[in-house]
């Protein structure tokens, strides 16, 4: 454990990367997940099929394989993150970080899509029918009646998806991002006799992020909860 305390700056920086990975891919996955769900529940059959295929393919692929496929495929398709070279304080966001964010986003947005769809399915049909019956136009039905309820119903599954994302950022370690799990392996490699202490320190780091997020989302959920 002393190894961690002696190099506490490395420990904090590693969790900084974990946190930034989570933050950026969390926001991006919400955006892409929303686009996907719009395709999946929209009136156009082709897009519905395309969305469903994407979701079932990505959801059933291990995240490591998504990372690998992306990092092998992207250069062939002319996508690369060579331009990404941002330095903020002690953090360097380079091509590895970009590829990790892209892979995490590809993977997580399919789960976000399913969470949002579950929320839409949770709205009883009668709600929309009643809204149409009182003469609301399409936009009114959506913005006043259906979407507010759907959004609230999808907060708990969305929170679960984002918590899974926090833990999934660890896979970036396999692909060269110096985030917490990679740092933990490096520390353990330096001094295997301290492995239990090192493991506990890093476990605590993850637990703090996960429980902190869980606490926030739970408060939101309470705040927005509707009586049914």
């Amino acid at each position: 454990m002393s190894l961690v305390f002696d190099n506490f700056d490395l420990y904090l920086r590693a969790f900084g990367y974990t946190f930034f990975l989570f933050l950026v891919s969390g926001v991006l996955s919400l955006v892409f997940g929303t686009i996907l769900v719009a395709m999946r529940v929209g009136p156009i059959a082709v897009l519905r099929k395309a969305g469903a295929t994407y979701v079932s393919l990505v959801r059933n692929t291990p995240l490591v394989i998504v990372f690998a496929t992306f990092s092998f495929l992207a250069p062939v398709l002319g996508i690369n993150f060579g331009w990404l070279d941002i330095h903020i304080g002690e953090f360097d966001f380079t091509a590895f970080f970009g590829a990790a964010v892209a892979s995490l986003t590809i993977y997580t947005s399919s789960f976000v899509c399913e969470a949002l769809r579950a929320g839409i399915n949770a709205v009883p049909l009668g709600q929309a029918e009643a809204a149409r019956a009182v003469g609301l136009p399409f936009t009114g039905v959506m913005s006043q009646v259906v979407l507010p309820q759907a959004f609230r119903a999808s907060v708990p599954p969305l929170a679960s998806v984002q918590i899974a994302l926090i833990k999934n950022t660890s896979v970036a370690a396999v692909f060269g991002v110096a985030e917490a799990t990679a740092q933990m392996r490096a520390f353990t490699n330096d001094d295997p006799t301290q492995r239990t202490g090192i493991f506990i320190m890093f476990a605590i780091g993850y637990i703090v992020i996960v429980e902190g997020f869980s606490f926030l989302s739970h408060r939101l959920e309470r705040h927005w909860a509707v009586a049914r």
């Binding site: 059933n60 291990p62 839409i120 709205v123 259906v146 896979v171 637990i207 739970h218």
Partner: protein
């Protein structure tokens, strides 16, 4: 589009408009797919010698061996997880605080940390120079993680059995263990089975993480193959295809079990990390 909460049944003008959108969307999807295929073709990814290895008997047997290792890891881990999950789940339901609290702490701890972190720790714990340690590192880490998730599944499953069942069982004089084993558990297992099968998908997917600790399995095989034949992308497609096929079969099994055993009721909802029992009961129990 029969009934949807989002849209009214479309009239003739909307149907015509949708037809135009369908054509445009279809063309866009085809164009995107075509572009990817063309780029890959242009790059020479569809040349025969990059794919030949997958129809060569010797290498097919190597891939199948990798598949077997992967399935073996997932299978042992799930078996272990079911046993562990049973004890932890029953522990979490216990009336004794000194049983409930350790079980709760154990479950929450292993659900909140990444499996990969656990794998690395166990790998070093078993000794990294040891050949079998990476195999068992994956298996033990997945057992601990999935066992903790299944404990939560079991708790939710037992709580989903109508309360009258336990009350009636107590009323005819059964003991606590008898109520659990004879009355609650058989009914809970039926409700839980789809969730358990879904967890198998998670375990199978997570075996791929073993690549970080050099474990056997499909992810090791893919590295061996593409290093030898320089065919990264075809290998990725084949390996991903194997995983997707296995997982789709499991998912279909879970859907079938859901229909057969649980019927039209909603699947179990498992609370996320960090909520106390009282909280989940308050926000989720009522909505089901």
């Amino acid at each position: 589009m029969s009934v949807s909460v989002l849209f009214d049944a479309p009239g003739p003008r909307t149907v015509a408009r949708h037809r135009i959108y369908t054509v445009i969307a279809g063309l866009a999807v085809l164009a995107a797919l075509g572009w990817v295929v063309w780029k890959l073709y242009d790059n020479g990814q569809f040349e025969g010698d990059k794919w030949e290895v997958f129809v060569t008997a010797d290498y097919v047997s190597v891939i199948l061996q990798g598949l077997l290792d992967t399935v073996k890891m997932a299978f042992i881990a799930i078996l272990g997880a079911v046993v562990l999950g049973f004890f932890l789940g029953v522990g979490k339901l216990s009336e004794h605080r000194w049983v409930r609290w350790p079980a709760w702490t154990f479950v929450e701890f292993f659900r909140a940390i990444p499996v990969l972190l656990l794998m690395v720790f166990i790998w070093y714990g078993l000794g990294i120079e040891n050949n079998s340690s990476s195999f068992w590192g994956v298996v033990i880490a997945l057992t601990l993680y999935n066992g903790s998730v299944l404990a939560e599944v079991l708790r939710a499953g037992v709580n989903a059995v109508p309360r009258g069942q336990a009350e009636a069982a107590y009323a005819i004089g059964l003991r606590k263990t008898q109520v659990m084993n004879l009355v609650l558990m058989p009914q809970a297992v039926k409700i839980m089975l789809p969730a358990i099968i879904s967890q198998c998908v998670v375990a199978l997917k997570d075996t791929a993480l073993g690549v970080y600790i050099l474990s056997p399995g499909l992810t090791k095989v893919y590295k061996q193959i593409y290093l030898e034949f320089d065919n990264r992308i075809p290998t990725m497609f084949v390996i991903a295809g194997l995983y997707i096929t296995l997982n789709l079969i499991l998912t279909m099994l879970a859907t079938w079990a859901q229909k057969k055993l649980v019927g039209e009721k909603k699947p179990l909802e498992i609370s996320m990390v960090g909520l106390t029992d009282a909280d989940t009961g308050a926000t989720r129990g009522g909505g089901l």
